[in-house]
Amino acid sequence: MSALAMKERPQVATATEPLAFETRDLSKVFHIGRKWYAGGQPLRAVDGVSLSLRRGEVLAIVGESGCGKTTLSRMMLGLQPPSSGEIFVGGEPLTNVDRKVFARRVQPVFQDPYSSLNPRKTIGEIIRDPLLIHNIGTAKEQVAEVEAMMERVGLARRLIHSYPSQLSGGQRQRVAIARALIIKPEIIICDEPTSALDVSVQAQILNLLQSLREQMNLTYLFISHDLSVVEYMSDYVAVMYLGRIVEAGPTAEVMNAPRHPYTRALMKSILTPEPGLGLPDIHLGRGFPDPLNPPSGCRFHPRCIDAMDKCSSVVPRTLTDGEKIIECHLHDPDMAKA
């Protein structure tokens, strides 16, 4: 593995190659409560999200629970149709297509390897299932493919007839990764893939994901609330707050010089293992706002220490600067003047 680590990163896509994935103005609105005939109260879980990523890169999405990360990932997996907006994979529109078509190209690795594997099936059956569903290869080829994939993710071949209950958490997550990769998808959606694991196992799984990405030129959408993991894993990061991307850009730039007050608060809340520093003061007020009744103007203003008068009335524009995106009046030259 160390030899691989020395190898150069895969070539970034050239201008002619289509983006690995793109979302344009993607939104999801749920209707909560009341009666079915009355329509319910709208909850904008994801609100106009536009993201794109080149092949072989990793985009991380960070934010607190309830910010819409998981809804976004479910739309990316084709598990939930978007209310509006479009998803493109490899340049082709994949909005409202059959789930099976989606699944060939986008595969998930979920948070909890204890509940994402069928306890009644053997490891071999679990990893082989996608090949059966998509009808790929003969039975013999499928078994050979399963064995090759198990070796690739670091699972001993003798485990092929074992059941998930006989495996450790790290081994189970390797099974989930093997199952996701067996039909050779282009994009892997990792939804908190290591938050149920111990630190030493987390390191093994993160290293494995990095090696596989380099070997197979995979693209990851990496969802996590652990910012030190995000910093390690991703090329780009998007910070989500109440369904909107409030800041996005190359990971190193966003992490080293966060511009949005919310990103700054998130960065401050990382507890680095340095004794003597005590607990940071994050000035984030109490409580996440009610998504059914989002604050007016900038949605972050009730918790923001730098909030100005207009923050509560004027919705901030999306400002783009090269690869960086920000939605904040503090960084809007027109607003700062006024």
């Binding site: 111990d198 998130l266 990382i270 507890l271 680095t272 293992p273 340095e274 004794p275 003597g276 607990l279």
Partner: protein
Amino acid sequence: MSGLSSSSDAPVLVVDGMNVDIAVPAGALHAVSDVSFSVRPKETLCLVGESGCGKTITSLALMRLLPRTATLTARKIAFEGHDLAKISEREMARLRGYRIGMIFQDPMTSLNPVYTIGNQLEEVYLRHHRGASRKQARERAEYLLSRVGIINAGQRLGQFPHQLSGGLRQRMMIAMMLMCEPALIIADEPTTALDVTVQVQILQLLRGLQDEFNMAMILITHNLGVVARTADQVAVMYAGRVVEQGSAEDVFHNPAHPYTRGLMECMPKHGQAASMGRLGSIPGIVPSLVGNQRGCSFRNRCSLQMPSCHEGQIDLRPARGDHLYRCLLEPGATKPRPVSLGSAA
């Protein structure tokens, strides 16, 4: 044994040579072996380690909430003039929740979904204060809810646990624990299920309350960041034993045991990207704790193992002052000791 001699207070809790064995079909599983520590008022002791290392069993043993198949033995577990290893179940029930408070990882599963918050808070108080009226209990509950930062405390008392967010539920658990002003808090992964921003707020709250109510805390976590920022003393556990113990500064700045160093290398650091190389990892898995344990329990995963690691009993020994570790090598060694006295490598 306590790391901080500056504090003149006597320790609230002294644990000396605690063992927990669990009967399993294959024999006895040594879940906790020879654990000793002490905590003083206002002090925080962090128990760190990975799943299966015995952190939670240690905390359950202190509360005497072990499963029936487990046996607890100790030279001494001294708490406010009682020996927790010896007192009767009846006496223990009087201390539990009254003098020793506990906070669990997942507040949703440790609260009763069919009773209101007010009901559950009052119950703790009424149980331990004979003759107290429901009105007094309600007043105290309301005061404590506002004390832990819940707005509209009076209104919240009538709500059910599912109507609260994770952070609010954890605040409510803390209020519940405070109902009787315990001398010792045992917090088992209190912030693991919470967002990073809420985690910081809850830890700050606990720290402040500890000073205000003069409480000692045993904090159990696997998050080294939480340990570094909250602990006065740290005990690193592996396979049921404490492998390193000392002040937070000593353990983080001069880790003596190879396992502690391995854990620290597993954590992605600020400024570290995957393109700069792989994370350190500890290969292998935790050994089985069934049967007789000889030698060092970490040896199979240790890059520095020597033939002598397989034999005998390895005792905790001082690295420097109160900083203890359980390894045959010099503290912080990066190479195995050269083989001497003709023993074959």
